[in-house]
Structures are given as C-alpha cells and as structure tokens.
C-alpha cells in the first residue's frame, strides 16, 4: 500500500465541471440533474436517490462552485436515501476522509437523526453489520450535533459512541476522520476526528477528539464509503420534507496524510 496516495478528491465543483454540458445557459457550471442510482459524472461510483430530492446546487459551501444538496421525502420509508458511493477503497487499514456539511434544518429534538457518512468494511463483526463507522446528524436537545458510532467488538452493541455539537450551527462545518484498524483481535484500533467551523484551520496534531483501544479488526478495513443522507429516524421522516436539506461539499479521502482545509 503506497503512502500518501490520495484515493479520491470529490469536491462537488469537480462534478459540476463534468456536468457542464447539462447545465445549459444557467449561471453555474453545476450538473443540472443527479439521476437516481445511476453512475454520476466525476469520480463518484454510484449516485443514490430513493424517496429523496437530490441536486447539485450553486454556490458550494467553501468558495467552491457547487455542492450536493439532499432532502428526504416527508413520510418516506426507512429506505429513503440520497447521496453518492465511493467504492475505490480496498480493505484500507488506515483511512482518512474529510467533507464539509451544512444544514438550516431546525434540528434540536433528540429523536431526529439521519446518517450522513457511512464507512463500510469488507467484513462484518460476528453477528453485526459491515458498517465500521457511521456519522449521524442529530438534534442533541438544544442544537445540531454529530453522533459517531465507531466499531469496537468489545463494546456493548459492538459500537462506541461520541456526540459533539456542531461548532458552526448555522453554517458550514468541516468534518475529518482518521480511522485505524487493529490487526486481528487486537485492541489498538483508533479513531481521531476533527469537527470545526469550515473557516477555521485545523492541524493533524490537534484533533477534536480521539477514541482509542478499538477492537475493530473484524471489519477488515474500509471498502467503500457513502456520503449523503440516509437512515432517517421515524421522527425525521415524519416531520421534515424534501426541502429540509443537508448540503455536502469538499470530500477528500487518503490513506496517510492529514487533509485539513
């Protein structure tokens, strides 16, 4: 495995340029349509759209041209989802990723949550799923926040949980993760995470938090990730409409090096 090899840079602006011919004479070079479950332009693998409104809109979140905008249909089923799959990771034993997200949804209630980033391994823990790490957008009772579920076969329910409020409640937040897998049944797996205002610089040496001692070798690494909106709780799908959207931009993933701003 080569060090410092960038697996994929997925700024939505790249998608926009690829979709220029579909944008017609509109003001932006963003792809006009997303196209459910088809191969999107640019480096993404598959575009997901089930009972959701998915579009590429302008401007982007961080002085970029375009962003991905997703909203789940009101009263949709638990299958509702919109986003994109990156299938290029290949049992990566260390996986770093970064994206920027924002939402204007009045998201405070505890029972309203949706999955925004799913990291899937080639294997599953015994009696569990292949999801090695999941990041949910949640209401924490008073504000918008994130909930990380990171795989650990020793933990109750095979996951350890971290909750953190979004530092920029009304604007763009940058989320970066550095996930390391333990070998076999080892317990030296680790998750480092950075959650910051998108305008604030971060450094490799100062993550927002670290979860150590993970027994996560059973997942076998990272084989694919999904960025978007899925797994909405019943309260989310009941109370929010397709115009209650979450935005995504500036996705990048690597094996070794810090990504940052």
């Amino acid at each position: 495995m080569k060090a410092n090899v960038m697996m994929k840079t997925l700024s939505l602006a790249v998608l926009g340029l690829a979709g220029l011919s579909f944008a017609g004479a509109s003001m932006a070079a963003c792809q006009a349509t997303w196209g459910g479950n088809q191969t999107p332009p640019g480096p993404w693998g598959t575009a997901l759209q089930t009972q959701a409104a998915v579009s590429v809109t302008t401007p982007g979140l961080v002085s970029t041209e375009c962003k991905l905008t997703v909203g789940l249909n009101q009263n949709s089923s638990p299958s509702a989802k919109g986003g994109a799959v990156d299938p290029t990771p290949n049992a990566e034993q260390r996986y770093r990723a970064r994206f920027v997200t924002s939402t204007a949804i009045a998201l405070t209630q505890l029972n309203r949550s949706a999955l925004i980033f799913n990291v899937v391994g080639p294997n599953a823990a015994a009696g569990g799923t292949q999801n090695a790490l999941q990041v949910f957008l949640i209401g924490n009772g008073t504000a918008r926040g994130l909930r990380f579920f990171v795989g650990d076969t020793v933990a109750a329910g095979q996951y350890r949980q971290v909750d953190i409020a979004l530092p920029n409640q009304a604007g763009a937040n940058r989320i970066e993760i550095d996930l390391t897998f333990a070998a076999g049944a080892g317990t030296n797996g680790q998750l480092r995470y950075w959650v910051s205002d998108a305008a604030t610089a971060t450094t490799d040496a100062a993550p927002t938090g670290t979860v150590t001692g993970l027994s996560n070798g059973a997942w076998g690494g990272v084989d694919q990730v999904v960025l978007g909106l899925a797994g909405g709780s019943n309260a989310w799908r009941t109370n929010f409409t397709a115009t209650d959207v979450v935005n995504f931009d500036e996705f990048d993933s690597r094996r070794q090096s810090f990504i940052g701003q």
Binding site: N37, S77, S79, K81
Partner: protein
C-alpha cells in the same frame, strides 16, 4: 480433553477473538427469468441473511431475506414487482455481489403494509443481479407474497435448433 471438547474449545476461542463474517448472501430462493411470470412465495420461509443492505445504509435487522438471482440482458425493458400480504415489503435489486455493502441499483419501498412494490430494469447494464425481498422489521415482517417478472426482453438465446 477429548477431540470433540478440544474442537469446541477452539471454536469458542475463534468466536471470542472475532472472525471475519462477511455479510454475504446467497440466492436460496432460486433464479428468476423471463419465464417466471407470477409466482407465490411465503417470505417467512426464508432465513435472515443480512442485517443491513444497500451500501449498509438500510438497517433491515433480523427480517427474513428472500433472495433470487436474475440475469439481465443488454437493453432489457421489463420490470419486477411484488405484492405482500399484511406486511411492509422492501424490494431491491442488488448489483454485482450479494452482500450488505452491495449497491441497490433499484430500491422499491414506497408503499406501506400490503402495498405492491416494483421497479423497472430498463437502463441497467447487462449482468447478474440479486432480487431481495425483505422488510424493516415490525410485526409481521414477512408473509405470503406474489412476485411477478414482466419479461426482461431481450431474452438471452440459450439454444436454437432447426430440427
């Protein structure tokens, strides 16, 4: 410790250290093709194969998973649909391999309990796929189901003879 006890101990240790349990599935329900027409199946007779599906995004839990394989030809225009009795069906078409991480290139889960679900196969790349009939749990999460394959033309020519 006799041999059997030794093997049990080894197996227990393997469980404790955690082996590699890929969330793979097998099309134990059989094969669908243009000649399938309408068939009736009770999905409660199937076992639970996947805890999640569709890139790991859909937490289908312990619901029984009825899985068929199907070969879709180039420029196919048909559809696959199913009508459940008394439960909320999720009908999906898995692309490539049959695992929890497979992309559901078609994903029908619009109706509630007892509602029919269907999807078109038009526009799909030719190749092998898996049809998944399952549910997100609840009670019941399975039952009698009518599955219909509208011909997936063009049909692959298996054989030709002028005898």
């Amino acid at each position: 410790m006799n041999f059997k006890k030794t093997m049990v101990a080894v197996a227990a240790q393997l469980l404790l250290v955690g082996g590699a349990y890929a969330q793979t599935c097998t099309p134990t329900a059989g094969v669908l093709n243009d000649g399938t027409g309408t068939i009736n199946v009770n999905t409660c007779s199937s076992t639970n194969q996947l805890l999640s599906a569709c890139n790991g995004l859909d937490a289908i839990g312990a619901s029984p998973d009825t899985i068929y394989s199907v070969q879709i030809g180039a420029a196919a225009t048909g559809s696959i649909g199913a009508t459940p009795t008394g439960y909320d069906l999720k009908l999906a078409l898995l692309q490539g391999t049959c695992t929890a991480g497979s992309t559901c290139i078609r994903d029908a889960d619009n109706a509630g309990a007892g509602g029919a679900e269907s999807f078109s196969v038009a526009g799909l790349p030719a190749g092998g796929y898996f049809v998944l009939l399952t549910s997100f749990g609840g009670s019941p999460d399975c039952g009698a189901t009518s599955l219909t394959v509208t011909p997936l033309m063009p049909v692959t020519l298996q054989n030709f003879s002028i005898n």
